[in-house]
Amino acid sequence: MKLRQSAWWALGLVIFALFPVVVTNPFYTTIGIFTVIYMGCATSWNMFSGYSGYVSLGTAIFYGCGAYTMALVSIHGHIPGGAEQFWVVPLGGLVAMAIAVPLGAVALRVRRHTFVVITIAFFFVFQLAAINANFTGGPAGLSLELIPWQGDAYNTPFYYVALAILVFSVVLSALVRRSRFGLQLLAIRDDEDRALGLGVKVKAVKLTGYTMSAFVVGMAGALYAMFLGQIYPQFVFDPVFDVTIALMAFLGGFGTLLGPLVGGLILESSQQWLTANYSNGSLYLILFGALFLIVVLFMPQGIVVKVKEVWSKRTSTGSDATQAPLATLGSESL
């Protein structure tokens, strides 16, 4: 069983690794890059918000900080456009983490529902600051030096760096789920006060999770800035980004490992495809919103859990079916 699972993961990775080899059209590889970036961000978001139940709608803060780190370091550090800039990507992640510490320290003082809103408030503080400050270039944004790569190959390095970030994010998320720390996050989601009473240092655990999840998003933002070569405050600090990431995790399956990957794959690829094919943005909004509503109505636990349910019903003739009766049996005997 374990082996079969690993085989599926390996197969998935191979498919993603081969994608730009098979598909060279930059139109599609661009969609691929964004999809992989969003899958990584959604996984990382889920590693904190999904496991702990603290839904953050300020993820774009880290994306934006990563993007500005890339732009400012490249410009002021006189880094020539090209592969050297990739070294700034992890730095973007670290800056995002450094910003996450004080933000988390304040935001995590409040409980879930208020936490959602305070993250939104933080987000607007950052967006407005980026639009109005001088060093960010204001509403005009910042331009990076051109990268002298030509033709179809331009996208390939970006794709693989994005894929590396995604793999890192998935591995980290899986490790966290297996660690004592991850268990503590899940305990906090179910009953925070009880967890505290059992010796879980909830404050430290929450802050650590929040900070860790900022890292991947910061790196993704840095990569985005490098890829486009031009950033605007309203696009890197984008409220739609905040909600999209959360939507992806919920669509696929909140708190599961596979969920954000599936959600990200479906949402981002279709979003990119729709925006590219229909210049009419409002049609896209309607479709995107409607898709999510349909999923919530018919599979509120997310696609992954629903598919697993249907799957296990189909195959529940043999040994897999013993679990449910066991539970009933147990409650009767006591």
Binding site: R109, T114, A121, L128, P239, A246, I286, G289, V296, P300
Partner: protein, 294 residues
Amino acid sequence: MNSSALIHALVDGVLTGSVYALMATGLTLVFGVMDIINLAQGILVILGAYLSYTLSVHFGVDLFVGLLITIPTLFVVGIVIERLFVARLKGPERTAMSILVTYAISLVIEGILNEVYSINQVQLQAWYVNRSFPIFGIYLPYIYLLGFILAAALLGSLYYMLYRTRFGASIRASLSDQTAAALVGIDTKRVATICFGIGVAVTAAGGMIYGATNAFNASSSYDLISRLLTIIVLGGMGSLGGALVAGILMVMLQDIVAVVWSPIWSSMSFFVVLVIVLSLRPQGLFGKQSARVA
């Protein structure tokens, strides 16, 4: 700062702030009774503004008379949204899901509004939008005063309904403890649906005044919803009086910051205040401290 700017801040704070308070009251009522955060409130305000726009431009209906049509319309819209989507949300992640579902609803409405009205900004017109009156040595368009009277009247009748009627009593019971309310025989489902309807209906009035005092398009909803959320959190989620105080405070603060420092930072100031207040008082200014033990 000079005294006329201060007077302007105070007057504008009370007049415009009470309109924000009205819109935020709908939001905080829904949260208090249902544990639902309605992220669509912003776009529904815009929808209310566009409905008034259509009535006044195409049918020549006065903005205030038009409310007789738009308020019931949005009440029904609220009921439909509640029955169709919100009521179906169950389980431990209900509140988080409500945020995303109402956001998705808001995207759909935004898309439709963009299709119907285009993304060009418009503003509602009437004689009282263009003409000003003097107050404490400054001039303000009449709409500010009329909007304030309308908001105060609606808030007043809302409070009357809540504190003087039987249905209001069941809403307040649900506000303080939903389980207990259900136990004493209150039909909490019906209360929730009607509350959601009322919470949305107030956006018709709020939207009309907003649309008459600001140029708007569908994406103005982002700015609106972030302000409304900040107001209800600052006031204390579920607290009606808190929403009123926080709404007035927000507008005053922004006006003062705009004069003293710079208009650039005025919209940011309120978010900063929110963060500071919450780090000292996590439950907001007038919030109930939630009991956390057993």
